[in-house]
Symmetry: D2
Subunit: 342 residues, 4 copies
């Protein structure tokens, strides 16, 4: 069976990545694409790399007949998202890529996003979309809240360790390196090629990055008590990819075994042999996450390094993985594309 798919917010990078992946998905067909300011344009005009596809023209959201849609991806900015979804049919299956339904506690949402949540009822219904840890809920869910891309990377490195109690919960440090597509198609001076290429800097440092809200919520839930990590993202001169260097206190071998066991049956999470560490180059454009563990020369300290593609496993690939579950399709369908190297 082929499902009819709508994508709201198709003119951004995650929207385009959804189209790229669905282009070869055997059971999804795009029947509606929205883009507010670019309504009326063809997708080929907005993203010429999709020129070969036969796609519907971009429209405004109100022009879409959702009764003809089996599942709707929502790739809109936060805040806008909650307003839009509140107006959509209440039985429409939705996979959201924004931050609006990730935080269960409205107070946390307001704290990290600077404004009150206006769709608190919907929030109660939302399922946190970290597929590997919420599979059953996602299968039964109607509104899936895709995770932050950094939040996903850190959680893949840490959740099994926190759950197993093999690391010190009070001294976890995530030093993260992120490619620029995570910032979206934003017109900012520091995202210009002339200013970004050839250098690096931190951003949202000092415990200010919004994905900390997700870390707090999820790690505390797993641990059964409050967990607060340190988290510093850096912007790198690369388009795709996140590498999270996670410093923990615990036995490196046990850390490795714990991750290996946790992910042994996961199709997209690959734990490297002990001591091997991954590169973002090896997952570009794919839905895979590679994870490595190494010990330090100082006994009792270990490092977990996790890499994934922020646009794929970190957002649009994850979204399709979740949509597959929601639609009852085999989870990996359309997502086994190999990474692109070089």
């Amino acid at each position: 069976m082929t499902y009819r798919i709508a994508i709201l917010g198709a003119s951004g990078y995650t929207g385009a990545e959804l189209v790229r992946l669905i282009a070869t998905h055997p059971q999804m067909r795009i029947t509606a694409l929205s883009a507010d300011r670019k309504a009326g344009m063809t997708m080929a005009e907005v993203f010429p790399f999709l020129r070969h596809l036969d796609l519907p023209r971009l429209v405004k959201i109100d022009e879409i007949d959702f009764s003809q849609v089996d599942l709707c991806f929502c790739a809109l900015p936060h805040a806008t998202t909650q307003e839009v979804i509140a107006r959509l049919p209440k039985d429409l299956k939705i996979v959201d890529l924004s931050a609006d339904f990730r935080l269960r506690d409205p107070a946390e949402y307001e704290k990290w996003y600077g404004q009150p949540h206006t769709a608190v009822e919907l929030q109660k219904e939302a399922v946190y979309g970290l597929t590997e840890f919420y599979r059953d809920d996602i299968r039964k869910g109607r509104l899936i809240a895709g995770t932050g891309c950094n939040a996903a990377t850190g959680q893949f490195a840490l959740r099994p360790l926190i759950a197993a109690g093999v690391i010190d919960l009070d001294d976890i440090l995530i030093d993260l390196k992120a490619g620029v597509s995570g910032a979206g198609r934003s017109l900012k001076e520091n995202l210009l090629h002339a200013e970004l290429s050839g250098g690096t800097h931190t951003y949202s440092a000092g415990g200010k990055h919004r994905h900390l809200g997700e870390f707090d919520q999820e790690f505390s839930k797993v641990a059964g008590r409050p967990v607060r990590v340190q988290f510093t993202p850096h912007l790198l001169p690369m388009n795709r990819g996140i590498l999270a260097t996670v410093y923990v206190k615990g036995d490196a071998k046990i850390v490795h075994q714990t991750l290996e066991k946790a992910y042994e049956n996961e199709p997209f999470l690959r734990v490297l042999p002990f001591g091997g560490l991954p590169s973002t180059r090896d997952i570009a454009g794919s839905n895979f996450c590679h994870i490595g563990v190494i010990g330090d020369r100082i006994a009792g300290r270990a490092m977990v390094v996790a890499v994934l593609d922020n646009l794929t496993k970190g957002s649009s690939g994850q979204a399709i993985q979740n949509a597959n579950l929601v639609l009852g399709i085999e989870e990996t369908t359309g997502l086994m594309l190999a990474p692109m190297f070089p």
Copy 2:
């Protein structure tokens, strides 16, 4: 039906690209991989981005049982290739990616490659692998000679124009911009990131690039008389992609119509509306070739710009397209992957 595939020379970029594409090809299964110096290693050790695949270990060519192989891709260096292929079973279907069987005239081979051809008999059997123009021969062929990546780009821009007689044959100029993966995994100072990034230079300028041999052969054949083009490649700080800026003397509108008509039914060749010009970013990682035409302010002069991915449409994607034909599979099978952007 699933065909058993061998790849000789799997430790180079075109070999790895073949594996990447076959990974999601529904009718091909890799059963043998060779790499001379890296025999004994796993593909994941040589190319960790292929870590998720279940692949045979790398072996030496002599260890392969070719009776269990339906088709063999040969991604070896030139000169070595002719020796290797001469020793393979005479009925084995082969798609070669090297330069060894592209030039029909052994004297031309010697002129451009600096040594006599040692498998002249095999050369007679070889079919030039520019799929769109040699489809019928390829379907019937046993040994297909993949084209040069630059040679493919220039021919897509020019063949229909030469055939139709709509441009001056004595004043054709191809100024080409190429990404660095075309140089292969060669350890040369000027290919280091520190030396290549952030700048550009010409190479093999002044009529010395070997792909001129292919241009001469093919354009003269199409024209029915000798055609000699000017051709200057430039190396750009990008990994994939070729952009050929082709300057011709002729009517721009007629040039555009001629190309549009020639390629109207081609699945991989896309002619843009008149005046639109393509970008290499829009074909990265895909088997598509985008072509644009514009006129100059000087009457009677036109410019054709063609882009393709040197590793895909320029070599490994083309090779699979040819292999599909040789095996009797639908030509586009496994090749409809969308480009990756950004």
Copy 3:
């Protein structure tokens, strides 16, 4: 003696490059910096790479006391420039980096820039700032019009050849590759790192680029009859540098000798031995222009390749070279910085 320098438009790349170069210029001291929207900020806030310098705060132009200024660099957008300069003191020495005073014929200005020139009287006074060819006029000049960066590159390759009559004036083709800083600090999607890196495309193709106005004016003047060249710029994923591949019809050796002789005493123009071709990497950040010549396999055709840094020799370095002349300082003062490699 140390001269007091004002820079109008200091918040753009050419403004910043002026500051970078003047930082180690022994006879210039910056006493005023303007930036309209960023007035009130420090230069370190706008350009942290200049943090170590003791610079005046950014102000609006009207706040500058020009009686205390010996020379004013004007790095403002075109159109704005002519209005601003018209209001400046009539005896103030000005080196302009915009396009406003490059074209002597107001009709040509209107044709290429889409609006009538509003300071035609000033235009009469302006000296075209291609230093090597207008030295005497510049020394005596008050208002110097810096050239376009592409226009400079093409002229260095061609002026001596046109003057000497050694090439066919009706068949000159400039295929130019430009780094992105030439587009300025403009917030455009296609200048974002995510969209520009890793690929290339043409822009202003088909005889539409504004620097053609300069080529037409200067080449026709040198030739004593109308000369119209073909000119196609390409945007490359690099920050600095222009490489112009210039195709001419003429004897390659004579072309080389003509350039070698023309530039034998030039401090910044370096002609390579015959057959050697330059790289943009070798002039980055410097005021040098490297030029190479090679013949084609087709007799009577030659290629001249010229490289320079668009921000230095192509604009701000050229501007300082001109300012040195205007102020009576030795021409190379402050400009002998070696390129930066890698």
Copy 4:
């Protein structure tokens, strides 16, 4: 007075960077350049970006008349260096850029570099070349051992904090991001543009990087007791620059004040206002080091971020700074070049 300078190992990146900087140094003149395998070539052949300079031809070390040399920079690989320096005149002033004389304890040298030190007597004479902390010794020294580039970055962030006792000495973590020129002109697959660009990975992780030897030696010396830090370098797709993210336990404001006070009179070290964090883009090509401090949301934790250019302040700029002291020249001479941006 102008000093006669020899550079041994002029064909590598640090050798070339020495030449670049000395090109505009008013009191140094290069009179000898060595390069073993490239002896006989001109510097312009090896590094065309130095084409405009009038430099001596490359020779073998034995061909240099050291009686005509006032100071010798040694930019050779480790191990080779100790052999070469042992054979040089015993009164020759030497600034070494290798690792051979950095570690005072020969056992430590053997531990980190895998072989016994063969010039132990010379080691006793060597002065550790971190200029800002060894100024007086360097002024009186004959053989100065330049620091590792990563080691310099970490020390600039940490030495004053360790000396002042304002941070926990048992929980210091340096997550470092390095550009590729630090790896030298080595022909390795992972340094190719095709493999390095667009991604990142760790290297020498887990307490294996050799610069830990310097950290151990220096931090323990400053603290008066053993100090062992965690240190993980990452390779980034950029040519120049190091960013060290240093995680410490201590009061952020006191950390900031300590650094600000320590460096208030330093010409090259710039501490940003509290909460401001630096970018590698702002020091490229210069001898400056920018340092920022921020607190974490978790009380009692702070982050120090230091950036410098590995080829300049991290090696060749530092070397010239040291040479200035050795020669009795003003310390900043020739080193005030502004960074290059973009």
